[in-house]
């Protein structure tokens, strides 16, 4: 199934995650009005989230996101992880 989760960072940006999943997260798209340097890192962030089980702990997602060499601007790894959990929780 496909679901969307969004996190609005207080005084910051909106991060939306659209996830396709069954028992594992099959595919992820990250969108929003955030900034990211380099911009090409968006796909790498998506790849480190994919393939994980739907009961993945938030901290494991944060750790995975932080392995990507990128500067997240207007949001943090924790916000992105939260948006992923939102997308797969329901």
């Amino acid at each position: 199934m496909e679901q969307t989760g969004s996190v609005k960072v207080p005084d910051g940006k909106l991060v939306t995650v659209t996830a396709t999943y069954e028992d594992t997260i099959e595919s992820v798209t990250i969108t929003g009005d955030f900034f990211l340097e380099p911009p090409e890192a968006r796909e790498r962030l998506e790849r480190v989230i994919e393939g994980r089980p739907t009961d993945v702990p938030k901290q494991e997602l944060v750790d995975a996101i932080e392995t990507v060499d990128a500067e997240l601007i207007g949001f943090s790894a924790a916000h992105l992880a939260e948006a992923v959990r939102e997308a797969i929780d329901r």
Binding site: T16, T31, D33, F35, P39, R42, E71, I73
Partner: protein
């Protein structure tokens, strides 16, 4: 630590001519930041003149989430995905002020929050000089106590930074709310008034016309950074036309998300 952000020893080119359609403007950003990054161009500021209404959307935004598709098609509004992040804006010729600054990475603070503040400062000084009490609002906005005047967005390359800004001069707020999906629920009742407060327009506070405000911005820029009036080269324009064809006029780019 030194305070990067302003260097007046560079030979700046100030471009304030040339009307282009929305895809060419974005292609120019892409071509010119590449050329500065490759050491083939002097630092440049370029003011945008558009051919019609447009929506530049942020690089990472989902097209369908931001744009009222039917309204945009019915009104020939050109939606183009930027090379920078940030949010969607609505723009009309003569009703907004947009400019792009292409500057060496070494002249820009590494700290991103700080660099936005530093690169917006001259513009805020110019607006204050016109009597508008503008302030920088982190991360990337130029604001007034009544609302947001404009927003900046940046892209960083190894040797170059693009910092572009769009401000509202006299934007048609109702057209903006019909074009952008953020307006959908706000237009459904009398709440338009409260939504209008979120965007503050320069012309509501300043008597000078659009051209005079741009002149004031150019003066302040020149005082801060130096520089001389210039134009795009034929080669730059041709490269931008090509890149508009291959990227910024295509659904593959504009609707990729």
């Amino acid at each position: 630590m030194t305070d990067p952000g302003v260097t007046s020893d560079e030979n700046w080119r100030i471009i304030d001519d040339g009307v282009h359609d929305e895809p060419v403007h974005h292609a120019l950003d892409d071509v010119l930041i590449d050329r500065l990054d490759d050491g083939e161009m002097a630092p440049t500021i370029r003011f945008w003149y558009r051919t019609g209404p447009a929506v530049p959307i942020g690089r990472f935004q989902a097209y369908a989430d931001e744009v009222a598709d039917e309204y945009v098609r019915d009104h020939d509004i050109d939606v183009v995905r930027r090379i920078t992040g940030g949010g969607a804006m609505y723009a009309e010729p003569g009703a907004v002020i947009t400019y792009s600054i292409y500057l060496p990475r070494a002249a820009v603070a590494d700290d991103i929050e700080r660099s936005y503040e530093r690169l917006n400062r001259w513009a805020i000084d110019a607006l204050r000089g016109l009597g508008l009490a503008a302030v920088h609002e982190p991360l990337n906005d130029i604001a007034h106590e009544d609302g947001k005047i404009g927003g900046a967005a940046q892209l960083r390359r190894s040797n170059a930074v693009l910092h572009h800004v769009t401000m509202s001069y006299a934007l048609d707020i109702e057209a903006m709310l019909r074009t952008l999906r953020i307006g959908e629920e706000k237009l459904s009742d009398k709440a338009v008034t409260s939504a209008e407060k979120r965007v503050t327009r320069i012309a509501d506070y300043v008597a000078e016309d659009h051209e005079a405000v741009i002149d004031r911005l150019k003066d302040e820029f020149r005082t801060t950074y130096g520089g001389e009036a210039g134009s795009l080269t034929d080669d730059e324009l041709m490269a931008a036309e090509r890149r508009a064809e291959t990227t910024f006029r295509t659904d593959e780019w504009n609707k990729r998300l």
